[in-house]
Symmetry: C2
Subunit: 199 residues, 2 copies
């Protein structure tokens, strides 16, 4: 039954993709095998290479191939500003605005008690420790304006204040309930410029 197993195994493996159920896994498998074998081979190689080489930056927590990412090492960046975002996608969005030249901390998530993600799982103490290095003058909270993103910002602002750190929140130019990823760079640039003090 080896003939069936190789294909079934691929179909089963495709279900690791978010939102892919048994039917779509089957369709994707046949699509790749019939129409895009080169693409499938490239995907397999890219997955393996990424898994092998990518880890978290020791300073900003984003995915990188080095111990400390290029952005964190760049003398071009203003080390007195530390911007907290939920994901690398959000960091890329911030970069595209050209409105920010400080450093980042990438949470790789947000507070989500229902999913078992608390301050500890997100290592929020690590963010506050990072912001307390004596160089950072302002902690800018750029988590999403969703309930979970707001809760995350709230937790961090409380912790920052308790440590006497100056903390700001990007302006609500981002629509309420919206996610940074789907906002145009102009709106996001405005939101950065109009960030308000939470002290």
């Amino acid at each position: 039954m080896k003939a069936i197993n190789s294909l079934d195994h691929l179909i089963e493996s495709l279900r690791c993709l978010p939102g892919v159920g048994p039917k779509s896994a089957q369709r994707i498998a046949y699509y790749l095998l019939q129409r895009d074998r080169d693409g499938a081979a490239a995907l397999a190689a890219a997955l393996m290479q990424s898994l092998e080489t990518l880890r978290h930056c020791q300073r900003c927590n984003t995915l990188t191939e080095a111990d400390i990412c290029e952005r964190c090492l760049s003398p071009q960046r203003d080390a007195s500003l530390l911007c907290v975002v939920e994901s690398p996608v959000d960091m890329n969005m911030m970069e595209q605005t050209l409105a920010y030249s400080g450093l980042y901390y990438v949470l790789m998530g947000r507070l989500s008690p229902l999913d078992g993600v608390g301050p500890r799982e997100l290592s929020l103490e690590r963010v506050l420790a990072r912001a307390s290095d004596g160089v950072v003058k302002e902690l800018i909270l750029a988590t999403n304006f969703t309930n979970e993103g707001e809760a995350t910002a709230h937790y961090l602002s409380e912790g920052a204040r308790a440590r006497g750190l100056s903390v700001t929140r990007i302006a609500r130019g981002v629509p309420v309930g919206g996610e940074l990823e789907y906002v145009d760079p102009g709106t996001l640039a405005q939101a950065v410029r109009e960030r308000r003090s939470l002290a």
Copy 2:
């Protein structure tokens, strides 16, 4: 810039998946790297194994690891019946009905002139040649009841008649415009039992 390249390369590679644009590719990449590295590794391995081992069965054209698949070699199957389906998914659906014990021919597609898929690209002559082996007594057309599936069935029925072959079409228990893949096995079983002669 190697740090950026490995991740960007993965994001780009994920776009070989049907329906995945730049934004979803980014989300899938981060999801896999953060939440399901084991799944991603298994997927990479399954993709490579499938690409290496799967090819088309010389008799029925489905994907298999052997020259001729197990079903085509099975003495259990009734070799006087040859059922034409569009895809391996459809063949699996037929099998689940338990209403059919003959052999198959899997087109791996359907006539679709707008996409440049004509009788030649689908190798429809090969289907007719397969049905003319002297053993096949009935060619059962089980392509979808979409416009393209119907056109494919029409082409094959004309060719079969020209060769003096007996040809039937599964009954329209399958809803008009519907696809086999989304029909319950009971309905499909009925459609097989009530297949009608096209001669």
